[in-house]
């Protein structure tokens, strides 16, 4: 009796789990079917069909972001605004689709993109070698620099340094700041986010931190928990290198890149880009 009962329940459970998979496929009949048939599972991630057609087919452009003023952040009503957010809205309108902003864990950005949980990464993303090799990137639209954040009372000790050797520097794991700090000979302490690097410096567990200039402006100083911190040097200048650039990331091989580049050229020509940039105070950084 028990055996039969159990065998029956197990069978029902299996059928249910299969049915659950089936429903998932039914929800997106076209792309799921095409993908399973056509996509090779050799890890090349090249979309089997036009990515633009895929996004237009489902009617929504899902933009992968983190809360990063002044590029992507929420206003008092919880709506996403910022230079990147506003441009993303304009781009979606240009494509004739809705836009949806999805906060993601930045460490997993490539997986988010390739698993189609988001359609693009548009969040003041520095175009490092790591980024450009793992996704299709747009032409750069903005410049950025990496700065050294230090305790305000020790700022004088860091003046005029030409190397970071012997210092332990907190950096965001996998960030452009980590690459810059390591190039200057620092011992890096990789942590989860740029915000966590500041906690390291504040708690005295690291000597200094390297973060984006745009972020440093928003996160430290008066009115924050980090009033005792200040930022001093531009690491890009220190290395004698040009400033970094921001770009938008799409799936490898995606035709959305061309769509975006055309959109961006048009936005520059019409003045929309500079107008939006001025709203958020980033007009100095925009690449024309």
């Amino acid at each position: 009796m028990m055996k039969k009962l159990l065998a029956l329940t197990m069978a029902v459970l299996m059928v249910l789990s299969l049915a659950a998979c089936g429903n998932q496929n039914d929800a997106q009949p076209t792309d799921a079917a095409v993908q399973t048939d056509a996509a090779p599972t050799d890890g090349t991630e090249a979309p089997a069909e036009s990515d633009l057609a895929y996004v237009q087919g489902k009617g929504t452009l899902v933009v992968g972001i983190t809360d990063f003023a002044p590029m992507d952040y929420q206003d008092d009503n919880g709506e996403w605004i910022g230079f990147d957010a506003d441009m993303a809205k304009a781009f979606a309108e240009d494509l004739g689709v809705d836009v949806s902003f999805q906060e993601i864990n930045w460490d997993n950005k490539v997986m988010e993109l390739n698993s189609k949980n988001v359609d693009c990464l548009w969040n003041g993303m520095t175009l490092t070698d790591e980024v450009t090799s793992s996704m299709a990137c747009s032409t750069p639209y903005s410049t950025n620099a990496q700065v050294l954040v230090v305790p305000a009372d020790k700022a004088a000790d860091f003046e005029g340094l030409t190397t970071l050797e012997g210092l332990s520097i907190a950096v965001e794991s996998g960030s452009a700041g980590q690459a810059a700090a390591e190039a200057l000979g620092a011992t890096t302490v990789p942590v989860q986010s740029q915000a966590n690097t500041l906690m390291e410096v504040s708690a005295g567990t690291s000597d200094a931190a390297v973060i984006d200039l745009l972020m440093a402006g928003a996160m430290i100083g008066e009115g924050t928990s980090y009033a005792n911190l200040t930022y001093t040097m531009n690491l890009n200048t220190m290395q004698g290198e040009a400033d970094e650039v921001y770009g938008v990331g799409f799936r490898t091989g995606s035709d959305l890149v061309d769509a975006y580049n055309n959109f961006w050229d048009a936005a520059l020509a019409s003045g929309l880009a500079m107008e939006t940039a001025t709203t958020y105070g980033v007009q100095e950084s925009i690449i024309q």
Binding site: A7, L13, Q28, N117
Partner: protein, 250 residues
């Protein structure tokens, strides 16, 4: 102190933390509701003695052949599942369940917060069901055989014996170890932030980097401890009361 709690910044932070905590609670309760019965199913599965080839087994056959003939497929599958789930980190299971279907073009999770919540709930239910199943198994096997024999003597059917004798006594035995797992679950929910489910720790951390126009605040992260302590306190009290209520047969 009052000024601190009435300031607009604090109000904003607390409302965000509340929002995150609601998601934490949602995950907690869905996991319990799903994992408690699924765990029993897995426990029964791993104790299942069904061996389809058993009838061909003879005492004189070689050891290897008898092992094949006495193979119990249901039990083997359940134990394999328990081994895999208990043997790998929950955080890896969450990442796998959420990203691999999309990466391998199997299916896509619903877009937005709901898809993330669904994936994380399924990962938690399977994970906790496996832990629960071993507790159930211990509880069921800990009920003296004499109890079942007594049931047989009284003319009860096997299902009557299971539900009215074994299961009844098993429940009171498993309350302390189950309490342990449930309290662990309260805190394990924080792992969901790895796929950007905005539960309370995510919300607490978000104010360091910037959220709702506030950035560079550290205290919200540490303040989340208050929520966890209060909630696990309530859960502890409730489970303690349940344990007292089940103090029969003694």
């Amino acid at each position: 102190m009052f000024a601190f709690f009435s300031s607009p910044t604090t109000q904003t932070v607390l409302s965000a933390l509340n929002e995150g905590f609601v998601r934490t609670l949602e995950l907690f309760f869905i996991t319990l509701v799903g994992a408690v019965p699924l765990g029993l199913l897995i426990a029964l599965g791993s104790m299942n003695r069904w061996a389809p080839l058993h009838r061909f087994a003879r005492p004189k056959q070689s050891k290897a052949l008898r092992a094949v003939l006495n193979f119990r497929p249901v039990s083997a599958i359940c134990r394999l599942l328990v081994w895999i789930i208990r043997g790998t980190p929950l955080v890896l299971q969450i990442i796998t369940l959420f990203y691999v279907p999309g990466l391998e073009h199997l299916f896509n999770w619903p877009s937005g917060e709901s898809g993330r919540m669904m994936a994380v709930c399924i990962a938690f239910i399977i994970n906790y069901a496996c832990y629960f199943s071993e507790i159930y198994r211990g509880g069921i096997q800990g009920v003296p055989v004499g109890q079942q024999e007594a049931g047989l003597v009284l003319g009860m059917t096997r299902s009557q014996i299971f539900f009215k004798v074994t299961l009844l006594q098993m429940i009171k035995r498993i309350v302390p170890p189950m309490s342990n797992e449930v309290i662990t679950l309260v805190k394990d929910t924080s792992l969901a932030r790895v796929i950007a489910l905005q539960e309370i720790i995510w919300m607490g951390e978000s104010f360091m980097k910037g959220n709702r126009g506030i950035s560079g605040l550290v205290w919200p992260l540490f303040f989340t401890a208050v929520y966890y302590l209060v909630f696990s306190g309530v859960v502890t009290l409730l489970l303690g009361r349940l344990e007292k209520k089940l103090e029969f047969f003694r």
